[in-house]
Every structure is written in C-alpha cells, then in structure tokens.
Assembly symmetry: C2
Homo-oligomer: 587 residues x 2
C-alpha cells in the first residue's frame, strides 16, 4: 500500500501524482470500511479526500495552520497526520474522535464540532501570526452548508480586512446535511454554472480575491490551485467544487442519507444493506404524527428546523407532505428562533425543533427575540441529557441555558402521554414561549391519559405520597427516582414520596412547603448539568428551613466519549450511591 509510506504530510511530497491517486483510493476504502463499522460522517469525508491530499502536498502543516470547520471532513486529514491506525486497525477504530482534537495531534488546532467557526478562528490564528512577526499560511476549510451560519459570515467579513495571508477553502458539494436553504446558494450555483466568472459574487463583494476550482476531486488540479494561493499576501477564497460521497456510488446518489450513517448501512458490495429498523413508535414518530395532524387542522401550524431534519426523523417525504408548513432555515439557529418568534407573534403556530447542543447557538435570540417578546413558540429540544457523546455534542447544558431566561416555560415529560399533552397545550396556548425536552429514550407509554392542565404553571405531580424522604425525578430521570424510592424502601424501610415535577422553569412552592411537615430530606435528580440547573433552585428554596436537599446531576465539565455508566458513577447517579448519601444526611 502507498499508505504504508505515509506517516505524516511530509511523506506525501515524495510521491508521484499517480501514487497520490492510488493513495486516495486506499484512503477511500479505509474510510468506507471504518465508517460502515463504527458509524460516522461518510459523505463529507469521501468528498474531501483528494483536496486533503493536495492540501498536505502543497502546504507544510503543522507550520502552516489548517483550521477545519465543524470537522465532519477531517478523516482524510487524520489519516495523513499520524493517525492512520484509527482507520487501518479495527481494534483502534474508536481510538480517535471524529472531530479535530489538538490532544491527538499538532496538526489539529482546535477542538471543533459545531459549524461555521473556521474562518473566525483562522482569522485569530493569522492575526496572532502577524503580531508575532511570523510567516506561515493560514487555511480555513469550510463547507458550503456551513456558510449560512452567522458566525461564518462574521468571520468572512472580518477575514476580508485582515490585509495579510489568509486562505479560505470553500468546499462546495452543493449540500448541507440535507439540501441547502438560503439566497446565498443561488450565488454558489451561479458561480458553479459560470465557472466562477459571474460578476455578482458573494465572496468578491466582501473584498476577497476569488479563485474558482472546478475539479475539487482532482489531486493534480488542486495541487496547481493550492500552489497558486500558497504564500498569498492577502485574504483569498478558493471556491472548490467537490462531490459529496465521491467514489461511493450509493453515497453520491443518496447524499443526505449518507451524510452520517449508522453502522452496517453498506453490504459487502458497498450497496445499501437490508436493515431491519424497528417500526415501533418513537418520540420522533409520534411528534411527526402530531405535526401532520395539526397542520391538517390548522394551516398556520408550521414546523421549523435548522439543517438537522434527519435528527428528528423529518425525512424528505415528511418535509414534502408539510410543504409550505415547513421551513428548514439551513444552519442558522439564531434566525430559526427569531423567525419562529415573529411567526408566533403574528398569529402562526410554529413548532421549532433543535438539538440540545445547538440550542447553545441562540441564547440571545431566546432571550431577546423570543422571551422578552413573550412569543408563544413551541420548541422541541432533542438529545438533552448526560451522554457518552463527543465533547463537542454534549446535551447537558440546555437546562441551565434555557431555564434561567425569564418568561419561557420549559417542560420535562416522562412518558408519551405527558409529552403529547404538553405538546398539544403548547401549540394551542398563546401566553408563553414553551420548550419541551423530548426524552432521548424509547417511547414509554403508560396507557393512562394525562389530564394535567399545563396552563397552571409549576404544579408538580405528587405521584406517590410517602414520608421523611421526597424524591424529585425530572424528566428522563423520573425512572431513576422510582428505582431510588424502591431501593430506599427495601434497604431502609422508608416509604419515600415520589414527585414528577414536569416543569423545569419554576418551583411548586405549595407542594415544597407542604413537604416540610413530614419530610426531612429532598432528593433531586436531573439529566444534565447541576450548576445553574433545576435542583439548586430547590436547595435555595429550602435554604431557610431545616429541610436537607441532595442534588444529583452532571458536574460542570466537558466530557469526551466517556461511557455513560462511568459518568453515572462519577455523578453518584446510582441508587446505591444515593442511598449512602441519604444515610449520611439522615444521621
């Protein structure tokens, strides 16, 4: 294998173009096999193999600095920068994260997993270089999909006036995660159709030198292009056309489906494998049924997403069915919230879906555009909770982030019945911005209709009335609360009270006050960061009383692919550990 000779980028420079092409084929095979085994980003990485080889052939990383955007497309880079074992050796398939990670290699500058950051970061790298009177190339690699994010634009706008070396490589595969949305993409299309010759040019309008590279999947041609811009003395944009999923026909034909895949999507012929997906209902499927049903009844109901429809099961078919009652705003979470707020304020009924980790991209819009205006938007927050995810995609921060903003009602259902009741109430009401934390679990059905009137805010559900100890289990951790209750009963003979709070954003002061009569300890359990979260508010509430309060949740930390069970132990989120703490508190 050619790859045997390549341990770092310098080794590439010894190879002929023919060998570089062979190397690309080898890398393609490795990536396909690895990603089909572990799951991961398939299409973006297959599309960027040739350009990555050319980039490392021409530039001199890590002296020259390459900043990846979102880093969905860093696998070829990892293979060429000392980490090929993570692709050649199945035992080491999980050794490296799917994102750039400075702790893995000097060739990775930043830990990155959210989009639209590369140009901004690269501008800082270049400015530091200039302040230190150093000389090297700074390259930002950004996909067309990421261009729609506000931070990307702010970065481009500032990079353009840097006045010194800065190379922005726009990898245009004419796709975001799903299809692109936004006026900018008509300009990219025009530029592709005119081989970059159209006068009306987004990048030129910002002041960049602009180079169009038709053959982004051709190593030899990309080497020529990169040689042209290397050591440039001013900001330049290379608009490079590539094919998402390049070299894997099924991925080229199913670009959205092959953006990120689960393990086993391909059979031995690299065709779509027959996969037996369960057709049991999920939180995603009941949400889709709910939305379709609502839209049929009320043409002002509108689903809104921001470039990750697949995460909610919003398939092409579902999106087409919704038609004008669906907007994907592209990677533009800030706009998504402001847009939804204005829709609601103008009498429509928006249902905005966002992932917990990406809600972070829109704090000010939640506060100013949405909550200050008290617009009755329904937000569905997916993937919230403690998880073994990569540090860039944790779901532990949404409760502190959302719940300390005034006016919003943040709800935590524990089963299908509660969830659908909350959803229905939220869409119909006109008083509050409402967010619902959609459980990241199998669909739990109780079979019992939820008759709660959610317009009476902050009324917790007293599920089982006991004595001495009360356990408050929020959302997905209500199940753990039940386990803890049973364990306490078995081990200590105490019949604890069990509470399902449902409301993250407020305290049921009546209930909490009543507990004072015959309870001495309250235990709170929340599936997210403790700091700034739900339980601390209960501790503060009881601060002037004799009630003891034990808060359980995640510590304030970025965890990186730590197994969930290990995290639960670390956070004492286990019935045995909680029992130990309880015994100590009752002493």
């Amino acid at each position: 294998m050619i790859l045997d000779k390549v341990n770092n980028p310098a080794d590439l420079k010894q190879l002929s173009i023919a060998d570089l092409n062979k190397l690309a084929d080898e890398m393609r095979d490795l990536i396909i096999k690895k990603v089909n085994t572990t799951g991961g980003h398939m299409g973006p990485n297959l599309g960027i193999i040739e350009a990555t080889i050319a980039m490392h052939y021409v530039f001199n990383s890590p002296v020259d600095k390459i900043v990846f955007d979102v880093s969905h497309q860093c696998y070829p880079h990892k293979i060429l920068t000392g980490r090929k074992e993570g692709f050649t050796n199945p035992d080491l398939y999980y050794k490296y994260t799917g994102y750039t990670a400075p702790e893995e290699s000097a060739h990775d500058l930043f830990k990155v997993g959210h989009t639209s950051t590369s140009v901004s970061l690269a501008t800082g790298v270049a400015k530091a270089r200039d302040l230190k009177n150093e000389k090297y190339n700074v390259i930002a690699l950004i996909g067309d999909g990421s261009l729609s994010g506000g931070e990307a634009f702010e970065g481009f706008d500032n990079a353009a006036v840097l006045g010194t070396n800065m190379i922005i490589l726009v990898n245009d595969n004419d796709m975001s995660i799903a299809e692109n949305h936004g006026g900018l993409y008509s300009n990219l299309k025009l530029l592709r159709e005119t081989s970059g010759k159209a006068e009306c040019n987004f990048f030129k309008s910002l002041g960049f030198e602009y180079i169009y590279a038709e053959d982004g999947n051709n190593i030899e041609k990309m080497i020529e292009v990169f040689n042209k811009v290397k050591d440039t003395t001013h900001p330049v944009v290379v608009h490079m056309r590539t094919i998402k999923g390049h070299g894997l026909p099924v991925a080229e034909q199913n670009k959205e489906r092959f953006h990120w895949i689960v393990p086993g999507m391909l059979d031995e012929n690299n065709e779509l494998a027959e996969m037996n997906f369960s057709d049991a209902p999920t939180y995603e499927s009941v949400t889709k049924d709910f939305i379709l049903n609502k839209v049929q009844q009320d043409s002002t109901v509108i689903a809104v997403s921001a470039a990750t429809p697949g995460a909610y099961g919003f398939t092409k078919d579902f999106r087409d069915k919704l038609g004008k009652n669906y907007t994907d705003v592209g990677i533009a979470e800030e706009h998504a919230v402001a847009y939804a707020s204005a829709l609601a304020k103008s009498g429509a009924k928006p249902i905005l879906s966002l992932l917990s980790s990406f809600v972070q991209r829109t704090y000010d819009q939640l506060s100013q555009d949405l909550c200050l205006n008290n617009s009755p938007v329904t937000m569905l927050i997916y993937w919230g909770g403690i998880s073994g995810a990569d540090a860039t995609h944790l779901g532990s921060f949404d409760i502190p982030l959302i719940s300390n903003i005034p006016n919003i009602v943040y709800l935590a259902p524990t089963c299908k019945e509660e969830y659908l009741k909350m959803l229905d109430w939220s869409v119909q009401q006109t008083q509050y911005p409402v967010a619902i934390r959609v459980p990241s679990s199998n669909l739990d059905e109780t079979g019992i209709e939820d008759k709660t009137d959610y317009s009476v805010l902050n009324r917790y559900s007293l599920v089982e009335e006991g004595k001495k100890v009360a356990i408050v289990g929020l959302g997905t951790f209500f199940k753990l609360a039940k386990e803890v209750k049973d364990h306490i009963k078995n081990e200590m003979g105490i019949d604890a009270t069990l509470i399902n709070p449902k409301f993250i954003t407020g305290l049921d002061k009546d209930l909490l006050n009543k507990l004072k009569a015959d309870h001495s300890v309250v235990i709170t359990l929340e599936d997210g960061e403790l700091n700034g979260g739900f339980g601390e508010k209960i501790a503060s509430f009881y601060g002037n009383s004799d009630m003891k309060v034990l808060n359980y949740g995640a510590l304030k930390e970025f965890t990186d692919r730590v197994p969930l069970d290990e995290l639960y132990t670390r956070y004492r989120l286990k019935k045995e550990l909680i029992l130990d703490d309880l015994r100590a508190a009752l002493k």
Copy 2:
C-alpha cells in the same frame, strides 16, 4: 405647527410635500431638544426623519408591518405614531422607552434593543402573513452597522428565498456606533460610489432585487422609491444613503460622539457645550492605562471590542495609539470570542471587552470556541449588575450565562487593587479562559496591595472572621455585605463573618466546610439573577448539612426602567429586610 395635525400615520397622507418638509424640521427640533435633555440616541434618529415620514406616507402601518432593527432610530416613528407627547412635553420625556415597544403602540411589533434582528423577525412576520393568506407589506429597517451581525446575515439569507413580499430598507449612513469594520463595507462604499450600479453587489448575490436610493434624507424622493417597492411580490432591498446626525451640524461632524449622548451635550446654539467631566480615575481609565502599558511591554497583547468601544472609554485617540494591537470586529460578538480564542491559542494575549447584555450574543462561542479549547483569553464584562435599564439592556444575566460553562474562571473584584491584580494575572497566565466582571461603580481604592495568587482557584477571602452568621458579598455587593454585617452587629449583637469570594465560578469548599463549626446561617449577595447564579450553588453545597442559606439577588424577570431602589426592595437587597429574614432563619 404641522405636527399639531399629525396624530397617526394616516394624517400624513393629507399633507403636501412642503408641509412634510416642515414637519421634518419640527421633528428634528423636538428630537434635538428632548435627547439633549434626557440623553439618548441622537445621530441615528436625526438621520432617519425624512425616510420615516416617507415610509409612513406611502405605507399603511399598522396594517403594513414595519420591523425596526435595534430601534436606535425609532424616535421619528414614535412621534408619528401617537407618541409625540413624549417629545413635545418635557414632563413626558421619560414616558416612552427609547426602543420599539408593542405595549406602547400597535405600530411597534417587537420589543427590540439588540442589533441585527429585524430581517429575521420580518421574515417570520411575512411567512405568518402568507400562511394566513393575508396581504400587506412587511418592511425591515436595518442600519449598515447592524449588517455585520451574524443574525442579520442569517435573516437576509432566508428572507431572500421567501418568494413573496418583503422590503428591506438598508439605512446606510456609513457608520456603526463607531466606524464600520469588515469587508462588507467596501461593497457598500462601491455601491454608493457607483450609485448602486456596480455588478458585484452583496445584496444581489443573495438573490434580492436591489434598488439604490441616493437621497435618503429627501422626503419626496423617498416617497417615489417607496411607491416603487410597495406591494412588491418578492424580496427587495432598498439601499438608502442617509447622513447620520442630519440637520445638526455638530452631530454630522462628530458622528461617533453623537451616536448616543449624555444630557447637556449641546448648548443653546446647538453647539458642543462645555462640559466638566471629572478626570478622576475610573475602572475604564485604569483599564486603558493597563492595556497601553502591557502593549508597550508585549507586542502580542491585543485589545478586542465589538462595535461598542465608547462604552469602555476606548476613544479614537486610544484606538489609534494601540494601532495593530487593537481590533474592533464591528457588531460581531460571536466572531469576537472565536477570534480572541484563536489569538490566545496561537500565543497572543487578547483582552476582549464586552457589555454584559451583549455577552448573551455569544454563548456557543464561549462554550465551544473558547472554553472547550481552554484558550487563555481575558474577557472584561462591563455593565453587569441589577439596574434600572431598559428591558433590552439588562446586566443581570451574565453570571448564570457565563459561570455554568466549564473551564472558564469568572472573577468579581471589589476594588481597584483586586481588579488590576486579577487583570494582570489573567493576561499573563496560559491555563484558563478568564472573565472579569468590571464593577459598574466609581473606582474604589483601598490603598492596600492585593497579594492574592489567583492561580489558586476558588479561594475566597475571609475578610472578617466572626461567628454564627457568615455574609458572602460577591463583587459590587461586597459593600452591601459590609453594611449588613454592621447592621446585624448593631441590631442583634452578632459579630458576623464577612467573605469576599472573588471567584464566581467555583466554591471554596474548605472555607465553606470550616464555617459549619461555628456558623448556622450563610447569607449570599450577588448583583444579578439568582436563578442559575452564584448563591444557589452555596445553598446546594450546604444541602446535606444543618447550615441555613439565604440567597439574595435578582428574580428571574425582565424589568423595564424600574428604579434601582424599587428593585432592591423587591429583591430584599436591603440591610433591614435581610435582617428580618435572618431573624426568622435563626428562630
């Protein structure tokens, strides 16, 4: 006066052009007088009088919907929409807020005070209109300065593909709050110089129809322009050239200084009044001295701001002195944080200044670009604290926002000596992102050198050791803590312990544990929202003990120009009220 005849926009339609011009002069005089009395936004409002008259002459508000950006330029609109008394009657000068406010008028759609939101909001208004099969014009009014904000770009990108009526009025006065920064502004310049005829056109690149309006301060011409775009069936951008401060020569000549003025800037001749500003040192002035000094010693030190240099006293002169060691990124807080993170990661020493209210615009960048990468940036947070400000500019949320993000060290100095010591430590260290909450108060000097080693994190300062009661006074509320201590001594004879925690982001567990020996109540005082803030963490810490904890700070609410004393009473932030609570807790 012509204005006597104008009580709502419909009245304008009866007037001749000559009378409309007279009306503009009357409005100009009223605005100058009012703003010079109360303080407020002068230049932006003077520049938009004629266009506002033309807009209300042509369109039919509130059936047609006008969405203001940041609403620094809404005074003429307020005068024409039933609120002229706020400008004609000095007794009512404070009746209306300086921002758009739906509670004041049906002509105001949103409560807005942060920039770059109008296009995004207007897109939602237009989409709701379309879903409801209604017909009216939707107009967004955005200044050139606001175009650099990411949310604005996301809005433009999505507005462009709306496919129906949407009119974006870009009010180009070639100024942000200070001068503009960014590549986009070279395109606006090109468009102004070519009367909009240049082929390379930012707005056209996004797919908009584009109309250039040279005479934004000419009512008759703007009526023509607006008549042309009224009832358009697709998204259109009107690029309108205006003069900031139009009609007030001193404001036209000093655009930055007259963006927002304090009362009394003008004398009776509408010239610059002689004002006696104190030259006593302030937190702003010692910060500037510190930065200049550091830059002289170390050419990698760089000050960064995001379009509000004036708020920190970063005058033109100061900026010029810093030269390449200063970047104003324009209205682009997201970029500011990512840029600073990359600067720090690449070995430079960035000092980023932001206002508390605008830190909100950059949560994800704080979390992902900065803290996840653990970049040693120094952030200075100004204007944090409970205040009588407009609901759009509150400083009560930065502690919950910043302090629950992992890795960052957030510091709260109580005097000049601590502040400068923290600042110096922060700039020199390379381990953590650090934020310092610059007190919004006069400069307190103790004269005593601060010898704290801030690299030992989360060590609180035990200022006075007492018994039974401990008072933890964070940052600006340390003074209140001292008052409370004295009051408790006088009234109850208890010699309370006094603690200056300095660190917002962590608990001094040793000290807190030691207090258990001879204290039964801990009182926490923080100048910001209690929910998710500092004190709740202390309540949670003591949850398993007998220690009682009384947390004081702001409630979770948007307050709108409520006098500070009223807020302090509401939040029980008064020594007498705290004493009452303490007596109850000690019972």
